[in-house]
Structures are given as C-alpha cells and as structure tokens.
Symmetry: D2
C-alpha cells in the first residue's frame, strides 16, 4: 500500500532532493508540494530536472489538505517549522528537516538560535533523527527532527569512539570540508560561482557554528559527562558532500575496532580497512557514509576521516530512512541507489 506524502518547502534543495529520492521509492507517493514564494508554479519550472515526473503543482501550505496524508516532510527554513508543525493534526507523522527540533533543551535552543522556542511541547516530543543511534525511538515517533548535515557527519565518526571510551574526550578536533549545497539555494554573495570557484574559506570559525549545539547535546549524552569539541567547517568548491577529518587522541587500532564494530551490520555506513581513507565523491548523491582510520606518526594520535552527501545521508536521504521506519516500511526502501561517480 502506497503511503501518501506531502512535502512542505519543496522549492529548496532538500525539498528537491526528497522529490528526487521518492521518484524511485517503491512505496511512497507525493500528493502535495508546498513552496510559498513559488506557489502556482509547476515543479518542473522550479527544478527542470524533475520534468519527467507527474507531480502536483506547488501550492501554499494552507492549501494542503492533510487528511489522507500519511507523512509530512517539512523542509522549511529554520524557525518557521515550529509554527507550521504545531498547526498540523496530531495524527499526521512528521519528519522535520529544519533545525527547530534538534535540541531538546529550550535553553540550548535559545542560546544557539537566538530566540526562544515557540513550540516547547513539540520540542519535548521530537526524536533526534540520527537513524543508526535512535532507530527504535524513531520507529514509534510521531515527530522526528532531522539532524544537521555537519552534525551527522561528525557523529558518525565520533559517537562510537566516545561510547567505547577509546579517545581523550577533551582533545577532539573536527575539521570539516563542506560543499556548498548545505547552504541551500539562497542568494548570498559568498555562494556565487565567481566567489567560491577556485576558492576555499572557513566560516563560523572558533566554535560559532550552530551544529555545535547538537554535538554538545549528543556527545555529552553518550559520554555521561560534558563533552565539548572543536569544530571548524571550511567551504570548498564542490556542490555535494562533506569530508570530515577528526583528530583524536587514542590508539588507532582501538579506534578502528570501535567503528568497525559499531557499524558492522549497518546498511549505509561502511568502515574501510585500517589505514585507508575515503574520498568525498565516493558517496555522492547516495545515502552511504564511508569512514576510514589512519594512525599518525605520533604515538597515540589517530585521524578519522568520514564522508557523506549532505543532501542525501546528511538530510533528505536520512529523512526518508526515518520515514521508512515510522511508516513500517523496509528501512532501506528507495535508498540503495549507488553513488554517482565520476
């Protein structure tokens, strides 16, 4: 039985990625697409690459009749999700791709996002959407909060190490090389081709990136004590992908074992043989995450490299993986397409 899907905010990159993935999903059918500023347009006008699909016209959120909708993907800008999701009927399942429900603590939300949360009840209810670590809670959830794409990448390589106690919790440095689509289709000068092409630059340096809120919350939870990492994202001239380099202090063999063990049966997370490191393009346009561990020449120092596609495993693919669980479908349904290379 096909599940009826609505996507709110379908005119952004994560919305378009949801549509792309659902195009070949065996058990999902898109019945409504919203895109306020582009309401009334065909999806093929906004995203001509979806021209071959028979899709509903973009409409305004209010125009959507959610009766009969099994699940709503909410890909709206940060801070607007709160009101919209609060207004949905309680029986509709929701996967939110914004940052609105990632942090459980209202104080933390306010600290990182600069204003109080407007739906603290929902915030309490929401399950953090890092599938591999919240699988059972997601299965029973009504509202799942998709993680930040940087936050997902960092957690995939660091959570098992923190859990296994194989690294020094006070000496974790996470250097992320980030492709541009994570910033969305927004008109900002530094996102222009002329600016970013042949260029590389850091942003939110010094611990000001909001995904640190997720790291703090999750790593402290796993460790059972406060953990604060250093996290620096650097924008690189590519469209899709995040490559994370983590500098940790711990024995490389133990680090590799902890990761290999944690992900042994995971369909999407692949740990490479000891000493090998992945390339960002190895997972492009797919729901896979590749992780490698390399021993440094300095004893006790280890480098962990992880990569995923920010729009897929880091956002819309993760959202569908969670939706599959929430709808009682096969977790991997619609997500096994191989990465696109070259």
């Amino acid at each position: 039985m096909t599940r009826k899907i609505a996507i709110l905010g379908a005119s952004g990159y994560t919305g378009a990625e949801l549509v792309r993935l659902i195009a070949t999903h065996p058990e999902m059918e898109i019945v409504a697409l919203s895109g306020d500023r582009k309401a009334g347009m065909a999806m093929a006008e906004v995203y001509p690459h979806l021209r071959h699909m028979d899709l509903p016209e973009l409409c305004r959120i209010e125009e959507i009749d959610v009766a009969g909708v099994d699940l709503v993907f909410c890909a709206l800008p940060h801070a607007t999700s709160q009101a919209v999701i609060g207004a949905l009927p309680a029986e509709v399942k929701v996967v939110d791709l914004s940052a609105d429900f990632r942090l459980r603590d209202p104080a933390a939300y306010e600290a990182w996002y600069g204003k109080p949360h407007s739906a603290p009840e929902l915030q309490k209810e929401a399950v953090y959407g890092l599938t591999e670590f919240y699988r059972e809670e997601i299965r029973g959830a009504r509202l799942v909060a998709g993680t930040g794409c940087n936050a997902a990448t960092g957690q995939f390589i660091l959570r098992p190490l923190i859990a296994a106690g194989v690294i020094d919790l006070d000496q974790i440095i996470l250097d992320l090389k980030v492709a541009v689509s994570g910033a969305g289709r927004s008109l900002k000068e530094h996102l222009l081709f002329g600016e970013l092409h042949d260029n590389v630059f850091g942003y939110s340096l010094g611990g000001r990136h909001r995904h640190l809120g997720e790291f703090d919350q999750e790593f402290s939870r796993v460790a059972g004590r406060e953990v604060k990492i250093q996290f620096t994202p650097t924008l690189i001239p590519a469209t899709r992908g995040i490559l994370a380099t983590a500098y940790v202090q711990g024995e490389a063999g133990a680090v590799h074992y902890a990761l290999a063990d944690a992900y042994m049966n995971e369909p999407f997370i692949k740990v490479l043989p000891f000493g090998a490191a992945p390339s960002m393009k190895d997972v492009r346009a797919s729901n896979f995450c590749h992780i490698g561990v390399v021993e440094d020449r300095i004893p006790g120092r280890t480098i962990v490299v992880g990569t995923l596609d920010n729009l897929t495993k880091g956002s819309s693919g993760q959202a569908i993986q969670n939706a599959n669980l929430m709808l009682g479908l096969e977790e991997t349904a619609g997500l096994m397409a191989a990465p696109v290379y070259p």
Copy 2:
C-alpha cells in the same frame, strides 16, 4: 527471473556506470566483471563508490564462463571489441559500448578508424543502438552497437528534423559542449584537473571527430541522400553531460512540432515548451534527454538545444535500455532514477 549479466571492461567509466545502474535494476544480476589490467582486484578498490555492493572480483576475460550468462556488456576500448565478441558463443546476447560496430560500411569504418575491420560478418549483423529509432530491430538482435555519446546527442535533436523535411540539409551546424568523462579514465595531459579547470577548448575541429561517421551514415539514411553536417565539440570543465547547440535553417514552429511529435510517447526524451532551452545539469546521472527550440531573430533560422548525460543516456544507460529490450524486460527497467541536482 533475474538475468545473468557479465561486463567486460568494467574498470573504465562506462563499465562502472553499468554497475551503478544495475545496482538498482530489478531484474539484472552481475555474475562476472573483467578488467584485464586490474584483474584480481576487488571492484571496491578500483571504484570505492561501489563498496556497498556484493560484486565478483575483476578477472581476465578468458576466465569468464559465459555459459549461463544471458547478456554481455562489452565496454572495452575501441578496436579490441571485435576480436573479443567474435570469440563469444553465438547464443550469448551482446551490447557493445565501443565504436567497433557502429558503422555498417567496412570502408567507412576504415576511413574513420584507420584500419580494416576484423569482424565484417559481425559488423553486418550488428544493430545500431539508438533505441528510440531502432527499437524493433534491437528487440530481436543478438548484437547491438551502442552509439557514440556525441552521436546520440546530435541525432536526438536532428533526426526528426531531417525525417520531417523541415530544415535545409546543407546548412546544419552542430556545436557541442562536452564534459570530460566522455574521454574516459585515461591519462592524458589535457584531461588533468590543472589543465581543464577554468578552461574551455575545442578538439577534433574541422570535421575530424569520429562520431561524424555515425552522423553521415544515419542522417544520409534518414534523408535518402547524402547529408554532411558541420560538427565541432568543445571540452568544458564539467564531469558529466553534453549540451548540443544546433544551428539549422528552417521555420522554428515546424522544427518544434517535428520534435514534439517524434518524442510524444518516449519515456526518456522530453521536449520543452517552445522558446525554452535546457541546462546540462537538468539530466545529470540520468537516462533523460531534454530538448528545446528557440527561434532566431533572423527569419528562417532556428536554434535547437539538446542535452543528455554522456555516461548514462549517451552510453551505459542506453546500453541497459537496449539490453532490457533484448531480454524481453520493461524498456525503462532500472532507468527511471531522477537526475541529480544540484
């Protein structure tokens, strides 16, 4: 019933693209992969993006037992296919992705490729693999010759115009913007990142590109008289895709009608509304081809723009589309994945 597939030459880009597409094909199973220089290696070593798949090791062609194989994709370098395919048992179906069987006339083959054909009997038997125009012959064929990727692009936009008699056959100019993967994974100086990045340059200028042999053969056949076009490919700094700009002399409305009419029921070829033109990335990593028609300010002049992904619709996707027909499967099986954008 799953069909058993062998891929010869799996270590090149078109071989890897075949594997990628078959990864989610509902009725094909890869049973053998050859890659002579990489024999003995796991596919994941040669192409780490295929790490999640359970694939046979790369072997030498001689090691493959073709008994039980339903279809062989032959993605070997030009000129080596002839001997290899000649040595296969007559009952095995073959889709060849090289240039070896594209030209029917041995003299034309020798003129464009510089040496006599070594398997003229097979050359006679081979069906030209431009699916949309040879569908019925392909269905019954034992050996299908995949087209050149530039040749496919040019034919999709020009064949219906020649057939409909709506353009001047002596004034056809085809200017192709070509991404680099069409040249394969070969070590040539002009294919280095340092050389091609931020660069654009023509190659095989002046009518020396070998795909002209296909244009001459096919366009003359359609027209019932000799047709020679001007064709200039220009390499652009992108990985996948061909964008063709055709300058024709004919009335724009009639040109658009001829294309819209020809492709009305085609699942993969989409003709845009009159006056609109496609972008190369609209079809990336997919089997779709988008075509647009624009009227020039000079009366009687028309610009036709077409685009496809050279590795998919221009090569490996086309090959699977043909194989689907040869094996009695749904023509679109495994090929409906949406383009990857952005």
Copy 3:
C-alpha cells in the same frame, strides 16, 4: 608624471580589475574610489585580495573632487553612467565601462536597452573603445565607451574577415562560451555555485543578447551594408574568459591570411599558425587575445576560434589600454603581465 585616476563603481568586478591592473601600472595613481552601497568601507573589506595596496576608502560619487583628476574610469551599472558622466566637468577624460555609450544611434540604444538615452549629446561624442580599430580617434577622445566583452571577442575574430570580403556576410554564426564573471557580482539564482557548477546553459538565445546591437552597428559599418549575425552565448562553469567559435563560409586560407595580416603588429592580438586553435585559459587574467583558424571538412566552410579574458581584454584591460592612449602614455603600459596558467 603620474596621472591621477578616479574609479567610479569600484565595488564591482570590473572596478576591482581596474584596481588590480593599476597596482603595477607605472604611471597611474588611484586618488578616489566610489562604491555607493559600500561607501565608508575600506577596499580591503570589499576585496581582501587588494589588502596590500594603499588605497583611498570607498566613498559616494558626490564626495569625489574631480579637480586634479586626469581620468575617470566609470564602472557603474548600465543606465546610471549617463547621468553621472553628464555631470562631470568637461575637461575630465572619461573611459566608461558600461553599455551606455556603445551604440551611436539613439534609436538603436532604445531598441536594445528599453528606454530612451538621457544624454544624446554625449552619446554622439563618445568614441567606440575597440582599441585596435579606433586607435586614432581614441587618442583624441574625451569620452571613450568600452565595448561589451562578448562584442569585443566577436569583433576581434570577425571584423578583419568582413573588411577583407573573404566570408559570406549572410551566413555568420557566432557561438560563445562565456565564463561567469561577465555577469558581475550580482545576486542571481543562476549565478550561484550550486547552480552553475558542473552545468552549462545558453542564455539570451535567438538573438536577444544586447551585444548584438554592437555587432549590428560595427559589422554594418565595416561592410558598408547591413550585416546581421546569429549570436548565441552559453554560460560555462569557469570564472574568467570567453571562447568564441565562429562558423563562417569562406576559404580557410584567406580567412587566416586576413586575420594574420590585420593583427601582424598588434601587441595583444596573437594569431596562431593555420590549423591551431586556442584554449580559454591561455589568456586568463591578461590583456591578450588568441585567435585560430581551422578548415572544415566541407569545402568553403571555416571555423575561427578566438579567446580573451572578459574582465581584462574584454573590459578593464581594454579600458586601461584606451586610457593609456588618451593620456599620451605607452599603449601597453601596465598591461604586459603574462596570462596566469594553470
């Protein structure tokens, strides 16, 4: 004696390119920089690559005291130059980089730019800034109108052929591959990295690009009859450069001779040996233009390929070349830096 220079509109790409070139110009000194929306900022804040230079702060145009200024470069948006230049004292020399004074005929201006010209007297006075063809008039001019970058590229390869009478004037097709900086630093969706990277698309197709006004004006003037060409620009994922492919009907040897002869003594225009074609990156960040001629396989058809950097030879370098003449300096002063490769 150093000449005092003011740059109006220094916060755009052509303004920044003027500053870059003047940085090593032996006889020019920047005394004022305007940038209305960025007034009050240091140039190093707007363009950190100019950090090492000792430059005046960006100010508003009204704040500039033009007394003592020898020459003003006006790099303002189209349509705003007219008023600004009209308000300058008559003794100040001006090189305008906008489109405002390129067309001599007020009717042509209105047809291409959609509104009447507001300074028709200045329009009459302005000299068209294609240095190699208007050298003597530029030397004595008070106001020089810089050409469009596409217009410059097309004229460098076609003017000598039209003048020499070696090609069919009714069968000229100009296909331009254009890097993105020609569109400036403006916030438009199709100029985002996420959109243009790995992409190629045409724009202003069908003869709607405004630089056609310049082609019509200049080619008709050279030919002594009306000449209308077909001109299609295609945006390619690169930052700087234009590569033009012209399809002409005329004997290749005669075409090559006409070009080689026309540019024999030009310091910046280099005609390659017969049969060779240039690459776009061969002239990057320089004031050079390379031109090649290739004979087509169809008798009487010839392909001419030309390339220049749109920001340098196509705009700011050309402006300095003209300013050198107007100021009685060596024409090549400050412009002999070699292209940047790779």
Copy 4:
C-alpha cells in the same frame, strides 16, 4: 643592468610560473630554458599562454652555456637536481626549487626521500629559502633551496608562535587544504579532472608527507628542542592555492600579537585584524600570504588560518624573491602584482 637567467626544467608548472613572473620583472632576462623531454620545442607549444613572449627554445641541459648566466633556477624533479647542480660552475648562483637541498641532515634526507643524498657537500652549503626568516644568509648564498609549498605555508603561520613561546609545542595540528598544481603536470589518475572535480580527499595521511621533514627541522631549530607536529594535507578541487588551518593551544590574543609583530614590516605577509580569516583566492597568482587568528570557544584554544599560492609564494615567486636578494636587486622586484580575483 639586466641579469641573465637560465631556467632548468622549464616545462613543468613551476618552470612556467618562473617564466610568467619574469615576463614583467624589470631586471631579469631569460637566456636559456631547458626541458629535456620537450627539447627542440618552442615554449609557446608547451605553454601557449606564453606565446607573446620572445623566449629561447627549450633545449637539453647540456646545451646550455652557463658562461654569462648570472643565476640558474633549477626546477627539475626531486633527486635529479643534485647531479645537475653539482656539475654547474661554482661561480653561478643557483636557486633550486626541488626538495633536494631543503634538509640539512643527510640522515633526515635519506629517511624522507628513501635514498642517500648524492651531493652532501652542496647540501651543507645550501641556505634554506624561507626568505622572511633567512634573509641575510640568502643575500650571501650561492645555492638556495626553495622550500616545499606546504612547508612554507605551515611555517609562515607557526614559526612566530614557536619562537614567541605562546603555544604548546606538543599539541600542534596543521590541516592543509591544497590545490592540485602542487602536484605538477604529471599524469596520475587521481589528478584527472574526472576524479578530482567535485571531490576532496586526504593524502599522505598520518604523518607520511615529506614536507614534515622540513617542519621537523625548522620547528625544532626555532624551539631549541624537538618539535613534531601533526600535518594532514587534503586535496581540494582548485588549481592554485593552499589554505592552512592550524589548531594550537595558546591564548588567541598572544598568538595574534606574535604574528602581527613578526610580519609588521614584511611586504608580502599580511596579518588580518583579530578574528578575521583569509580566503584562498585572496592571494591567487600573487606572492602574498594572508594570515588570520580566531579564538575558539574553548578557552586556551586558537585557530590560525594562513593562505598563499603554492606556485607563487610557495615556489616560483619565493624563488624570485630569493634571487632578487642574491643578485642585489630590490627584494620585491617583479613580485608586486596584485592577486587575481575573482
């Protein structure tokens, strides 16, 4: 009086960059160019961007008459310089751009480069070419060893910190984002456009990169004790530039002061205001190096970001800066061209 210059190994990227820079150098003249595999070719055939220059033909090293040559730039592959420089007359000044004379200790050389040094006498004589720190020794040197481009970047941001004693010497992590031209024009699969475009990957991970030999030598020397840093380079899809992110433990204000103080009077090294960080393209194609310091949210942790163009300040520009000193010229002669942006 113009100095006569010979360049050995002019067919590589650093050789071509030397020629590009000397093109506008007021007091250098190229009298000989060698390029063994391309001997007999014009430089314009190997590097068409140098077409406008009047250059000697590429020849074999043996064909060069060094009598009358004031200085030789030796841009040969690693390990071949030793023999070639040993055979030059003792009175000829030499700037070597290879790795052959960077390490003073023969044992260190053998450890990092895998074979004994064949010219240990020259090795002793060679001055390490990091101009800003060896200025006086370079002025009097006969043989100067150009630094590694990664080694230069790391030293510019870390040397003053080690010298000033403001950071923990045992907790230095250097994460480099490296453009591809540092690898030269060599035919390697991972350097193909199809592989690197839209891709990012680490190399020589875990402390295996040879430039660590230079870091060990220099940092230990500055500190007066052994210093070993962690250093990981990541290849990014750009042509020119290195952006270094250093993670250090020390008070950010002291770090910024140490850098600002060290480079206060340096013409090429620019320290940004506290809290700002540079972008890689801010120095492209120039001899400048920009450095920024950002305080982390974790007290006592500081991030230092530095950037330079690997081919210019990291290699050929540095070489000319050193040659200027050796020849008694102005140190900045020929090197003040502004970076090329965008």
